[in-house]
Amino acid sequence: MHSSGQTLNGSEIFFECLRRENVEYIFGYPGGSLLKVYETLYDVEDIQHILVRHEQGATHMAEGYARATGKPGVVLVTSGPGATNTVTGIANAYMDSSPMVVFTGQVPSSLIGNDAFQEADIVGITRPITKHNFLVKDVKELAITIRKAFFLATNGRPGPVLVDMPKDILNASCVFQWPETVDIRGFKPTLKCHINQVQKAAHKIAKAKRPLLYIGGGVISAEASEELRKFAIQQNIPVTMTLQGLGAFPGNHPLSLGMLGMHGTYWANRAVNACDLLIAVGARFDDRVTGKVETFAPQAYKIHNDIDPTNVDKNIKVDLPIVGDAKHFLSSLIEEMPDAFENRESWLAQINQWREECPLTYTSDDNTLKTEFVIDEVSKQTKGNAVVVTDVGQHQMWTSQFYTFINPRSIITSGGLGTMGYGLPAAIGAAFGIKDRPVVLFCGDGGIMMNIQELVTAVHGKVPIKIFLINNSFLGMVRQWQELFHKEKYSFTDLGDSNPDFVKVAEAFGCKALKADNPATAREAIKEALAWNEGPVLVDFRVIKKDMVFPMVPAGGSISDMLLERLNPKTMV
């Protein structure tokens, strides 16, 4: 620990600043421009550096850590290729509003712009996918820049911030001054909601006969689940959640309708279609949620609370916009609600009728294994208490349907960007942050190969993640669209002939591996995996090849277009 007033070099200042930002972990990979930083790191004991095997892995790990803990994830990579390898992970964190600070080494200041060895204009490249980014031009600016980066990443709507650090700056020295406060003239997020607007909302809500809460990831970022639970139960208002919002309200509560949207539940989508008042909190009317905007919640008076004013009236025109933090919104709403409100029993009864009409079910027999069974079984065995990470594809949507999320920060998934390869590193990052709950990953046989190298990181760090590989020998989600909308031309989605033996792959990495191909062996394998805590474990679930995720509202469609079963049942094998 150094103190303000000491003369330090850029690398020492770097770690001193991270220390003051309470950073526990850095997910990083060294290189030429960072040699000085890694020299200093050699003697740093209070911050753990996790050596990844690809810089994309570092970004997803940092994001997994951030989403599990609420604290910003930190990435450290070298210039040029190290920096460009972080682009997908940064874009992912940007789309899903995850707090993250990415430090990139850069060629020496004097060489910038000369096409120097391992030079890339990473500030230019990441401008549209970061909340903000910086190029440090003077060692005296390093501390304040790092302070600002953490401040920006974690305040207002969270997001990734990048700091580019030229090699000469990391070697140069100056008197270290830790800025106790930070003030950025152009960054003053509105946290407190306008009270008149909240009163107006309260008034409308009390009079609504068929109200519905539409909850997004913003409620989880704002740590507002308690307020949501209190408000919904007190007012007897049903709650539907987006993929990122799952867990904000307990999925096992009768007022929970599960997820809405493209693969949402039948009853949640019917409720959206029929409600007379929609209260959107920390959600952004994404196209995967709304389908055709003209027919989305057509009868509803729409109230929209979001911390980011650009989200308001972007995709859909709302009647009552309320900019501010979700926690502030919900807590002031609770205060402002009049004592008397409409009776909602018939509305809830109607929703329950829809629930019974078309429940989420699957058939199962002793010899075939289905993804739905695996997820359902994991949900039961973990009692909904796991931190669940997914990759992207069919297994991701089934996770939203068949895992019962009870607590916030329980689902970690790539929603906005839909990044295959996200799951494995994100699970590792989450497990560094959360030690008292099991971290389970559902990943496809396609996606696991996109960052399989990080299995080394998990094995080496003895990270006890449960990798539940949903192996359907297909790029299942693409196959589903091919079956439904592209004349059953299964163009380049059959992985059956080319997939490796995943058990052998895992074992070669030093990872415990199991295999299951029927419900009985699957149940046992899940039990064994959950009991194993000495490192990662992979279970290769050989599920049926041609299963489909339903319900499905086709892209750009309306609730009336919702598909509930296969168009051509003969295609089922």
Binding site: G124, K131, H132, L152, R185, G186, P309, T310, V312, K314
Partner: protein
């Protein structure tokens, strides 16, 4: 509808790029953009001319505000403001029309900034509408080259 937006930004490397890149990334129309220092050397003023329906313009304003380097965004369109653009234009000069050209320069309150045997360079200052008209009127005489500054604008004083 056309909107003229005044933006105060931190006078920092990359600020202009951030604004321009945001316009292209979000598919907003950008008719002109001009930037220069203000009375405070740490702050620059940008004047942006864009077009769009109200819903789009409201997104433009919000997205501009969201940029961290942005200090203040004002849509001047419906407020009292002064708007000016500078035009520099080189015209062909020939004896038969010489007289007419000089007369027109007077009409538009233009200034001659350079004159050669066969060409004349003039400057005209005015609202973008006036600049458009100027160009239309001079076109038949043969415009060799022209440059427009893009609009700059400011609130009218109290």
């Amino acid at each position: 509808m056309k909107h003229i937006i005044s933006v105060l930004v931190e006078n920092k490397f990359g600020s202009l790029n951030r604004v321009a890149a945001m316009f292209s990334a979000r598919g907003f129309n950008l008719e002109s953009i001009s930037i220069g220092e203000t009375e405070d050397t740490e702050i620059s003023r940008m004047t942006i001319v864009t077009r769009g329906e109200d819903q789009i313009i409201s997104q433009v304003l919000k997205q501009l505000n969201r940029l961290v380097d942005t200090i203040k965004v004002t849509d001047l369109t419906r407020q009292p403001h002064v708007e000016r653009e500078l035009l520099l234009m080189t015209l062909k000069l020939s004896k038969p029309v010489q007289h007419e050209i000089f007369e027109l320069i007077n009409v538009f309150k233009g200034k001659v900034v350079d004159i050669k045997q066969k060409s004349i360079t003039i400057e005209v200052i005015g609202s973008p509408d006036k600049i458009n008209t100027t160009i239309d009127i001079f076109k038949p005489y043969g415009i060799k080259e022209l440059a427009r500054s893009g609009a700059v604008a400011i609130h009218r004083g109290e």
